[in-house]
């Protein structure tokens, strides 16, 4: 997988599988979640934003963890593909973070009584992660030398990884408006199974969809980095070479 050429061809064949299975699960999850799951005993129909909010929030943290892992691998073992994966994941992670913050805010206004609370540990740490994503992209854009941009931005991602456990445990360590974990609760998920299955479908479906987008973006980044190599020229130009 660490050879750009093999990565490129494996990614090309994986993308349709990720995309199609992801979209099927997302459509099934959304239809069941929005129309067939029962309303919540306290929130009524408003709880249904969970089907967008929870997958977005999960992807926002999973994408960052993936980037941190790739940064570690890239810095220690000098595997170039890993840098391309980080570049591919960053804007996707930033958008899912934005989506998690936006849907949480829309839900928070009627339910909590506020769009946003400064100083709330869960909200603030998630916003910090959005700034880490944007900071990563800004740092890369400001460094014209590729090797330098790779190295410094990977270090930034690793430093920011300390925020991931803070986001997850913020609702347990401090008093937050945000409720505790429902799915990862000790003693099993605290959610009715009719509400749970569409949510699991949305989480897995969105992850597969994210995976397909990540492969598309990483492929493009790999190609850009390998544009002077023999295999890339041969593949792109074919017989003209």
């Amino acid at each position: 997988m660490s050879s750009p050429r093999y990565f490129y061809s494996i990614a090309t064949s994986l993308i349709p599988w990720f995309l199609v299975s992801g979209l099927i699960l997302m459509v099934a999850g959304l239809i069941n979640g929005l129309f067939y799951a029962p309303p919540d005993y306290q929130q009524g129909d408003a709880f249904r934003i969970i089907y967008v909010h929870v997958p977005s929030a999960y992807i926002s943290m999973m994408a960052y963890s993936l980037m941190a892992f790739a940064a570690f691998v890239a810095l220690i073992w000098r595997i170039k593909i890993a840098h391309a994966v980080i570049v591919g994941a960053a804007p996707l992670g930033a958008w899912f973070t934005f989506l998690a913050l936006l849907t949480g805010s829309i839900w928070g206004r009627p339910m909590w009584g506020t769009w946003w609370e400064w100083g709330d540990p869960r909200l603030t740490s998630e916003l910090l992660m959005l700034f880490l994503y944007l900071g990563y992209m800004a740092l890369r854009a400001s460094l014209p030398n590729l090797a330098q941009a790779d190295k410094l931005s990977a270090i930034l991602i690793l430093i920011g990884a300390i925020n991931i456990p803070i986001i997850h445990f913020s609702v347990e360590w401090w008093t937050s408006l945000h409720q505790g974990p429902t799915l990862l609760k000790a003693g099993g998920p605290a959610i009715d199974s009719l509400m749970l299955y569409p949510l699991l479908a949305m989480i897995i479906g969105t992850t597969l969809y994210f995976g397909s987008l990540l492969l598309v973006r990483t492929k493009a980044e790999v190609l850009n980095r390998e544009k002077n190599s023999r295999w890339a020229k041969k593949m792109l130009l074919g017989d003209q070479l």
Partner: protein, 150 residues
Amino acid sequence: MKPRQQRMLALGLSAIGLIAASFLTFKAFNENMMFFVNITDAVENTNIPADKDFRVGGLVVEGSIFRQPGNLMMSFALTDNINRLEVEYTGVVPDLFREGQGVIAHGRLKENGVFIAKTILAKHDENYMPPEVMESLATNALEKVSSNNN
């Protein structure tokens, strides 16, 4: 040392520094990120910033909600199951505001011990279930109580 081991050492040392830094941040958070004070502290006037708005969190006491007909003024009591704090509020309450629910009131304490709230936030728990399930849970709980009494 091989270059790879040097990189590992450098990264390991930075990781130790980072953990130390985050430990200190964590300690500072613990002292400052107190999102609300509890009812007993508010009633006993401990841990409260003087002459400043603060947040107080507790459960809405059953049967304590009174609304003024014709306007948005209301009063209710908050409890932590030890002490009781009277709260006055004018405005629209969040959907999750109801008896027995955990809420956070932001405002200040008057000398007569009544809390004048400027905003009310409702906190909710991690449980999701259909209304029928909640009803059957409540019925079961009632039956259990009555069978224990017999």
